[in-house]
Amino acid sequence: MFVAWRDLKFAKGRFALMAAVIVLITLLVGLLSGLTAGLARQNVSAITGLPGTEIAFAAPGGGQDLSYSGSAVTRGQWERWAGVPGVRSAEPLGISTTRAAAGGRTAGVSVFGVEPGSALAPAGEKIRDRAAVLSATAAAGLGVRAGGTFTLAGRELTVAAVAGDAFFSHTPVIWTALDAWRTTAPPSGGSGGPEATVIVLNTGPGADLAAADRAAGTRTVSRDASLAAIGSYASENGSLQLMRGFLFAISALIIGAFFTVWTIQRSGDIAVLKALGASTAGLLRDALGQAAVLLTGGTLAGTAIAAAVGAAVSRGDVPFLLTPATVLLPAAVMILLGVLGAALSVHRIASVDPLTALGSTR
C-alpha cells in the first residue's frame, strides 16, 4: 500500500469525486433499504408477529394462488386441524379491512378476529365480544385510549387495551372477537358467512401436514411463505428489491469503470514498477487495497448519513425501519460488490508489460 496510499493523497480530486459518488449511492441504497423494510413491516408485521409456525388457507380452486383476501375457512376445518396428531394448536383468525370511527375521527384499519382469550393477539385475554385490543397506531389514529369506545361496522366496542403496533396491508390492526369480526367481513357465499379467514397452526415434527390438508380441504404453508399471499406485499416488495438490486449493480459498474480508467491512466507507472521488480501480485494487492479504502470510507460516510436521515424521517409518518439489517447489510454488500467491480477492472495490471518502461526498440 506504499504507493497506493500516496496515490490516494496525491490524486485527491479524482478520488474525492469517486468517494462522493459512492457516498450518494450508499445513501440512496440505505434510504431505499430502510424504506423497503419499513413498508414491509407496515404490510406484514401482524402476520410475522403471530405465534404460529404455519398458516392453513382454504384450498383455492382453479389453480389459483393462495390469498389472504380470498380465503375463508369454516369451524369444521379448524376443529379438524385441532385434532391432527402433532398439531399443538390450531386457532382461527379472521382478517378484513374496514373503517373505524371515534369522536368524529375515522381511520382505515385491519380487523383481526380471534377467539376471546386467544394467544394470537397481544393482551388477547382482554378481548371480549364487545371489547377490542388496538394497536398503538390505530389508537392514535382514532384518538382513543384504554377504556374508551369506538365504532366498528356499526357496533360500538370498548378499548380493552392498547398493545403492540401491528400492521397489515399498510393499515393498523384492531384485534376483536371473532363474532365482532364477522360483522365486518364480506359475505363468503355461504349462509352464515365465513367462520374465519385462515387457521394459525403450531405444529411439531410429527405432524403430517399434507394429509391433514387433504382431509380438511385446506392448503398449509409456513408463516413466512404466507406473506406472498398478501397481494400488495409481493408486488411492492418485489419492485423495491428490484430497484435496490439495480442500485447495487450500478455501483459495482461505476466502481469498475473508475478503476478501469485509473488503471489505464497509471499503466506507465505500473510498467516502471514492474521493471524495477514489483510483483504483479503485490501491485494487484495494492490496487485492491486502494479500492477497499475508497469503498469503505465512502460507504461508511453514506451509511452514516442514511442512518441520520432515516432516524429523522422515521419520527414522522414515513415508514422507515432503522436496524442493522437495513443499514449495515446494504453497506457490506456495497463494499463487496464494489471490490468485485474493482477486481474485474484492475486485473489488467497483470497484462501491463514492463518492457514498455524502456521505451520503443531502437
Binding site: F2, V3, R6, D7, K9, F10, A11, G268, D269, V272, L273, K274, A275, L276, G277, A278, S279, G282, P354, L355, A357, L358, G359, S360, T361, R362
Partner: protein, 226 residues
C-alpha cells in the same frame, strides 16, 4: 559483480516472418566497468538492454547476472532477481508522480521487504550522493529535468544492484547537465563496483566508458576502448 551475455539471439514477429533484433551477441561487463553501447536507431541497443534486464527472454543464448544463470527461471524468479541485482536508469526519468524524491527510492526497499526506517536512511544517503539531499521532499513536478534524472539514478542504486543498465540518460538534458549525469554514473560505477551498461547516442559521453560496443543490425560490430 558482472553481466554476461553469451551467444544471445532475439527475434520479434514481423508479418509472416521474424525480425532479428539481436544476432548471436556475446558481451561481458565486469564489475566496476562501464561499457558504452552505441549504434543507430533500430540497431538493437534497447533490445540488448531489455534482454540484460531480464524483461524479455532471448530465443537462444544465456544471460548471467552476478553469477546467476537466468535461463529457465520463472517470471516471479526473474522479477525477484531484477529487484535484487539489476538497477535500471530509464531514458525518461519515469518517476511516480505521487511520490517525493525520497519515496521514489524508498519504494524500491519496500518492494524488497526491507524496514521503512532503514530504507529512509539509505534513501537520504543516496540522494546526498547525487546532490539532492535538499530536494528529498519534492515531488517530480517540483524538480528540474536534471534533478529528476539524478533521482532516477539514485533509485536504480537503492537495492545495491550488481548490474546497472542505463538507457540514454542524457537525451532530455542540455550538454552541461548531461555531462554531469554521465560523470555521476561513472563515479558511482567505480565506487560501488557495479557492472554498468550505458546506452547512448551522444559520442561526447564515450570518453567516460571503459569500453565501447557498436551495435548494427543486431550484431556487435566491434568493441574498442575509447
Amino acid at each position: 559483480m558482472s553481466l554476461d551475455l553469451h551467444d544471445v539471439t532475439l527475434t520479434y514477429p514481423d508479418g509472416d516472418g521474424r525480425l532479428t533484433a539481436l544476432d548471436r551477441v556475446t558481451l561481458n561487463v565486469p564489475g566496476g566497468g562501464l561499457t558504452a553501447v552505441v549504434g543507430p536507431s533500430g540497431s538493437g541497443k534497447s533490445s540488448l538492454l531489455a534482454v540484460a534486464a531480464t524483461l524479455i527472454a532471448p530465443d537462444r543464448g544465456t544471460v548471467v547476472i552476478d553469477g546467476t544463470e537466468t535461463t529457465g527461471m520463472t517470471r516471479g524468479e526473474l522479477t525477484g532477481l531484477r529487484r535484487r541485482k539489476v538497477g535500471i536508469v530509464f531514458q525518461q526519468a519515469n518517476l511516480i508522480p505521487s511520490l517525493t524524491a525520497a519515496e521514489q527510492l524508498q519504494v524500491m526497499a519496500r518492494l524488497d521487504g526491507r524496514s521503512p526506517a532503514g530504507a529512509r536512511t539509505r534513501a537520504m544517503e543516496l540522494l546526498e550522493a547525487v546532490g539532492l539531499a535538499g530536494q528529498a521532499a519534492r515531488r517530480p513536478h517540483g524538480l528540474s529535468g536534471g534533478q529528476r534524472q539524478r533521482v532516477n539514478i539514485a533509485r536504480a542504486l537503492m537495492n545495491d544492484p550488481a548490474v546497472l543498465l542505463v538507457d540514454e540518460p542524457t537525451s532530455a538534458l542540455d550538454h552541461e547537465r548531461g555531462a554531469a549525469v554521465i560523470e555521476l554514473i561513472t563515479g558511482l560505477t567505480r565506487r560501488r563496483g557495479t557492472a554498468t551498461v550505458l546506452v547512448t547516442h551522444d559520442r561526447a559521453h564515450l570518453a567516460a566508458a571503459d569500453r565501447i560496443v557498436q551495435v548494427h543490425d543486431g550484431r556487435l560490430r566491434h568493441t574498442a576502448a575509447p
